[in-house]
Symmetry: C2
């Protein structure tokens, strides 16, 4: 964690690490929590191995699709740690980041048992301070918090 | 391997995979073979784990140093497979690739036993065809071949 370049989000939630892990790694669950409402995740793919694909497509309330987010999984430690990056495509090919890509990040999702729940930490690493600032201005804290609320609500029902 | 984006280099050499592995993962050896002569590798660091640093500094015959190459190891399978990328810094932070970086690549170094030697394959993946073309024009085939000759000559003496 480098405070000049990274954003971090930590919260204790009342679902266990095993359910947080399932929410992050099961496409059908991802589609139901990953994008803060009223936006939606209309497609998700997870090839759960280092080098595997982590892919989501978001859609606006008006039905406009964003360009797909296609990243590469880097670390897969069941129920504890998931790392993926947008700097690489699946099987580690460097992503072709045009000048119109505002920023790229690597996400480290850590989950530790905390009583019957989970201490959940998301650390998002950027390549430069400008990338961090843009991500922050887009509402990182609020967006990841709202998505986590959706995750918890969903996993209490499954 | 995507022939539109990737460069590949395969050769059978008469040192075993264990020695090829040592040559790639031991900084003192890297300094002695990694850069085709008369250029030199004047500094090398290898933190041998996924997420670890793979770092080299080259110097011209006139003593001019190139900017350091700092990459991130992705797969570490002893004596068989080493994967590293320039798209990430150590611990998976996206690299800050300015417009002056001509191309970025991920290298997959594979070694399989072949008699008493090694079938050695280097596959270098780029993000776009322009990156592949620039790398090819810089003399990929000749450079990697000459470096491999140096590797084999060195490892026969250790």
């Amino acid at each position: 964690m480098n405070p000049d370049l990274d954003l971090s989000f930590e919260r204790v939630v009342d679902v266990p690490p095993e359910l947080v892990w399932k929410a992050w790694t099961t496409p059908e669950y991802l589609k139901r929590w990953f994008t803060p409402a009223p936006w939606k995740t209309v497609h998700a793919e997870v090839d759960l191995r280092p080098g595997g694909k982590f892919h989501t497509v978001m859609e606006s309330p008006e039905g406009q699709r964003m360009p797909p987010n296609t990243g590469c999984l880097l670390e897969v430690v069941p129920n504890r740690r998931l790392v993926w990056t947008g700097a690489l495509l699946p099987d580690y090919r460097p992503a072709d980041l045009g000048a119109d890509v505002p920023f790229v990040f690597t996400a480290v999702i850590a989950m530790e048992p905390h009583g019957s729940g989970t201490r959940y930490t998301a650390t998002v690493m950027h390549s430069n301070a400008g990338g961090k600032a843009k991500h922050e201005a887009m509402g990182f804290e609020h967006g990841w918090g709202k998505a986590l609320d959706q995750l918890v609500a969903l996993m209490k029902t499954v």
